[in-house]
Symmetry: C2
Subunit: 408 residues, 2 copies
């Protein structure tokens, strides 16, 4: 029967696509509702929804090219929105602190990860990969939590955002080094140097001249005949810089964040942030559930692997708290804790590093499972603590002109 119906006017495979989208969206929002009622962060609920509908529990949906693509677009739009709330000057003001937070927040997790894996009797290259996977921060999670609390314009929030950008570049370099060791047995310094120069150059270029360039062509954009020309321009810039970033090797979300920052001044007072917010509201659940769907509990079958996964997760949390916290210590204990916890989620970035390690045969299936567990677990653990740590904070400076990302 279903085949006969399925034949009808739906594209082949069209139902499967719709089913996946429907299940991910509705599960995420149901979980968000339940978590909100329990006074827990919706973000954690949406990730957990992904665990439940994913292969580990119900098996309704599995990560696929489609879910990964929707997830990527979702987080790109989130960072684009966050960027629009962040002026380049705000980041420059906290630049040195962010650099220090990022650097110590990269060194500590790498060393912790590397040492525990060696101590556990794993190979050198596996230890290096697990270390690398513990380095990168999934800034989308923290940005979403702070955005929902309306706290993106706190000084600590800006330090976290700035540190996440730098962290991403450092993580890129570590991954390039690690990958080149895994593939060629040595480090290609010229290539790494080129990558570093490109990544840093791109970031600085967009921060420095992006806003000016955008405000210079703004009038021209508004004179275009195409409907909603300014929104179209913003979306194109966001996608374009995300693409360039990803060609250079930096995460696409960094490009989107920089595009948002470049637009932050000229978008003020327009309808664009509000519209980009609606797009994000639809797409973000795919990002969050897709993280949870990555969990592979069947890789954690032995008692040893489970223990290792728990230890790695604890170290992943502690190492960011210690590394970033130390760097932020002069700001006071509370801010140090806020910044440290803000850098804890590994999310999709940890998952990607683990996938690369697996594809290079540098990590085996159980180490892969351990990293996935750590990535999902840190992402689930951080939001409730963030909510606690930031409770009672109020916006320190001007009211944002638009309530971007305060949407659930």
């Amino acid at each position: 029967m279903i085949t006969a119906f399925g034949l009808a006017l739906a594209a082949p495979g069209g139902e499967q696509v719709l089913f996946t989208i429907f299940v991910m969206f509705v599960a995420a929002k149901l979980a968000a509702e339940i978590f909100e009622r329990l006074k827990q962060p919706a973000v954690a609920g949406e990730i957990l929804a992904g665990v439940i509908i994913g292969p580990s529990v119900l098996g309704l949906v599995a990560p696929s090219e489609l879910t990964n693509a929707l997830s990527e677009i979702g987080v790109i739009f989130l960072l684009f929105l966050v960027g629009m709330e962040t002026k380049p000057a705000d980041i420059f003001r906290v630049g040195w602190r962010a650099l220090l937070v990022a650097t110590l927040g990269v060194i500590a997790p790498f060393i912790f990860g590397y040492l525990i894996m060696l101590a556990w009797g794993q190979s050198q290259i596996e230890a290096v990969f697990v270390g690398a996977a513990m380095v990168a921060t999934s800034v989308g999670i923290t940005a979403r939590v702070l955005g929902q609390m309306g706290l993106l314009n706190l000084e600590v929030s800006r330090i976290i955002l700035g540190a996440a950008v730098i962290d991403d570049i450092l993580g890129l370099l570590i991954l390039a080094v690690v990958s080149s060791i895994a593939k060629e047995g040595g480090v290609n310094y010229v290539q790494i140097g080129t990558t570093a120069a490109l990544a840093i150059g791109f970031t600085l270029l967009v921060i420095m001249v992006g806003a000016r360039a955008v405000s210079r062509i703004r009038m021209r954009v508004e004179n275009l005949k195409v409907g909603q020309s300014y929104l179209v321009f913003g979306l194109a810039l966001c996608l374009g810089l995300a693409l360039v970033a990803s060609y250079i090797g930096v995460a696409a979300i960094i490009g989107a964040f920089l595009a948002g920052m470049a637009l932050s001044e000229s978008a003020e007072g327009t309808d664009m942030p509000h519209q980009a917010e609606a797009v994000t509201e639809f797409l973000l659940p795919f990002f969050l559930t897709n993280i949870g769907m990555q969990l592979k509990l069947d890789a954690l079958l032995t008692r040893d692997t489970i223990i290792l996964a728990l230890i790695v997760t604890v170290l992943a949390v502690l190492s960011k708290l210690i590394g970033c916290g130390a760097a932020a210590w002069p700001l006071g204990k509370k801010k140090a804790a806020q910044i440290g916890m803000g850098m804890v989620p590994r999310g999709e970035v940890g998952v990607v590093v683990a996938q690369i390690g697996l594809s290079l045969n540098a990590v085996d299936a159980s180490a892969y499972g351990v990293v996935l567990f750590m990535a999902v677990a840190t992402t689930l653990i951080a939001p409730p603590f963030l909510v606690k740590l930031f409770k009672g904070e109020t916006r320190v400076d001007e009211e944002p002109e638009f309530p971007v990302t305060q949407i659930s």
Copy 2:
């Protein structure tokens, strides 16, 4: 080099995804801008952009699971928006006329298509499939053109929308008959009857009780804790009814249209249409370019095939003009022409029927190419004529509360 960079923090294949999305979005919007300046409908430009970036010309992108999925979500949201501008009573008022338009608009193209293929010396089953592919209307194209002109609340617009819904159900039944002949050599009347009953029952049920059910639970929805609960509810209803429609065998867009209609009264005065509009604005270009990308010029290599493709296209246009026009004749010549032209685009629906025929070995590669050409060509031809035919019309009744789909 690129491999080294590609290794970095982007998901494997992530760049390709971003590249595809960027190229489709930007090409569509550039073409829309050029067409607007030439005083041509943007819709046609966006479809043509798909032809140019697709396999037939530049080969930058090709239809894939991802582009089909984005396309489907895009047109689902478009019909959801159109539905929100359409009250069930508006459709009931034009019900009989729409039924007549749909019926004659299905019979004429089927007969024309069937006869020309037989006359051309093709097989019976191939003739039947080409006839079936000429039946269905891609209402999204017309809805978009009328929406951009702000004319969705004209009586003729409602007749077109109503007829498109009925047309889709009739097309479903024809396709079910045709497929069952192709597969089993005969017609399974019980199955066809079940399909018909389900499709009609579902449509009537949603139209009859949908709006009342929605307004009854509206307060509950607004009391939910999850952010933007009403938008979330609307999106979930849209995706859910699209999914049910596609399980039953009706096109998913019919479900989305019905969901929009069910919400049309209670959404008035809320921000939801405006937000759903922003989502559509982002996703619709994928629908339009994806249609153009379907074109396979390499199937039209021989002179004979090219001539057949042109004849089929002309007949596809004429048969809808004649069939639907005859049904609408009592409304006057102008309205008959408007309605007939409104039903001309075959778009994605024609493509899907051709794909099914191909997968059942009922049509060969060249007949497939002919149908694809017809589907894309009718979709490109109709918008400029629609603009001409509707020029000078003004909204006949109340101003819409929200400028839905007048965007871009």
